[in-house]
Symmetry: C2
Subunit: 332 residues, 2 copies
């Protein structure tokens, strides 16, 4: 990545956001009918008699939730879609755990139309009954797990608040972060990709800013639907899709930016994910595509975690990402 | 309710919403540590080796999710909090299933600061592992259940799209509505009230617009924390709290508006809920309080369902509710 993008511009003034409208809605999914299950008795209102509840019938499953902020004065007509990582929701992008503006607000202040999503079976997207529809039980993330997976500090470090030196994530508000964690199913990748695909069709052409698991999905869809994606910003992608040369050729028409934080030396998991992403970017470049990497420590910016959109320099990093998008996505 | 409020004012122009900022965050809840559970093996990334997952550790549970829209030109400094009903999320208020503006947008266009919440264990609020933390499994609502509970038509009518005559809910988009349904636990009433109480403390003083189960919670909190609530709009409350005369005295300082749709004759459940709410309003009036009722059919407005914020006249009803709030809540 060229060095000029590392000169952080002055923060946007705290001006009014000229919102044309904001709408939340669901995209994709399918109907499923259940039959032959026993009825249940449910207590609903304290003091009221219990009511019968029949679990048989029609469910809508596999949809995602999207919240679209349409501006009156956008600098680009192409919206920025924010896709969160595994075990998280769109709240990732809204506010840092210590109360600063999230990347969503930073991008709106840079006058992008935005759309923040909750992926299939996360947050407002809802989740299907298991084992009746989804075969498996989900995983719930503990703060203990997150500590090492998000590279705040060594495994087990949460109990002693042991963080990597110079850690930029506001670990004193790790409790607030943990309130964002939601159950995740790992068996729904294709349903998730299908719903994101429908979202891309809904908008016609989009910029995708995606984190971790969401970034892997974004890389996959850049290969499947390159005409629908103007650019992707992959924040700490959790690996890359296993794709062939034809897919790399397709993805090569989509400009890619990958942003990495620090502390890979402590995480074999993340070294493996990063190697997968590096390999994928190499294939895009070999196919003639643009694949920029912003390796923050290599650029002299130290201490960022896996959740760099919540770190203490998150607004500066959002500005770098927004500048890259403005340079890569033509006006209009 | 006086008849002048039934003269619907002209719709607000489609002007730009002057947004100072929008933030999503979590409020309330508690930490829970789990011990002694067996480890699991989880597939996370296709093609990657499975990883070990340890369910023991710290969870944050019982929080709610709040999304606060702060305007630059609000007509009242007191924000309007939107609380959804059982088995739903804040998406209730965002867009109708057939793509019209939700009450949230209607109130923003009337220049209210707003805050849309997901109650404890719904949507972005997240839900706790069961049975390890929450003792029970949740209920998932089917479209078949919703058909009669939401008073669209007779029980079983969904399969033949049999709706009550003149039904205003857009039943041709019932599939889109069903995508909003989320699992509900009925054992978390006190945790939900505690989190809403913390939300009210966060804002200091609020107007609460609440639906169904959320309206019952709002009535309860008007009695518990009357100084924190400037007014409540109870849309089709699912009953009322079982409270004593002292609670009625406390709640009497809070102006109440209750709005009812049609088709109670077909629902013994809703006649019972409504009788409970009527009794509660009578106690507030007996204690000297203001309790207005907008019975839509009695006012000549026919065909509204339990989800009247999604019915074909939803914008007119939002305008009525906003007018009532403006008349009851002083400037400032």
């Amino acid at each position: 990545m060229s060095c000029d993008l590392l000169t952080v511009p002055p923060a946007a003034p705290d001006e009014v956001i000229a919102l044309r409208r904001v709408r939340g809605f669901h995209v994709g999914g399918r109907a499923v009918d259940l039959h032959g299950l026993p009825r249940k008795t449910i207590e609903t209102v304290p003091g009221e008699p219990p009511r019968r509840s029949d679990p048989n019938g029609r469910y809508q499953v596999g949809q995602l939730y999207a919240q679209h902020f349409e501006l009156a004065n956008a600098t680009r007509q192409t919206p920025v879609l924010f896709w969160h990582g595994g075990g998280m929701t769109g709240a990732t992008w809204e506010e840092t755990p210590d109360g600063r503006a999230g990347w969503h607000e930073c991008f709106m202040r840079r006058r992008f139309h935005t759309c923040v999503t909750d992926a299939v079976e996360r947050g407002r997207a809802s989740w299907a009954p298991y084992p009746d529809i989804t075969p498996e039980a989900p995983e719930h993330r503990t703060l203990d797990q997150a500590w090492s997976i998000f590279r705040f500090g060594p495994q087990g470090g949460y109990r002693s608040a042991l963080a990597h030196a110079g850690m930029r994530f506001p670990i004193h508000r790790a409790d607030q972060l943990a309130k964002q964690f939601v159950a995740r199913w790992t068996c729904n990748t294709e349903a998730t990709l299908a719903a994101y695909g429908e979202l891309l069709q809904h908008f016609g052409r989009s910029i995708v800013v995606a984190h971790s698991e969401g970034a892997r999905h974004a890389a996959q869809l850049a290969a499947r639907m390159p005409a629908a994606i103007a650019a992707v910003v992959l924040v700490e992608p959790a690996g890359a899709p296993a794709l062939d040369a034809a897919a790399a050729c397709a993805a090569a028409s989509v400009p890619h930016l990958v942003i990495w934080g620090e502390h890979f030396a402590h995480s074999e998991l993340w070294r493996r994910y990063r190697a997968g992403a590096d390999d994928w970017l190499a294939r895009i470049r070999a196919a003639g595509g643009r694949a920029d990497v912003l390796d923050l420590p290599a650029a002299g910016i130290h201490g960022n975690s896996h959740l760099l959109m919540m770190d203490d320099n998150s607004a500066d990093l959002a500005a770098l990402a927004a500048d890259w998008v403005l340079a890569r996505v033509p006006q209009g």
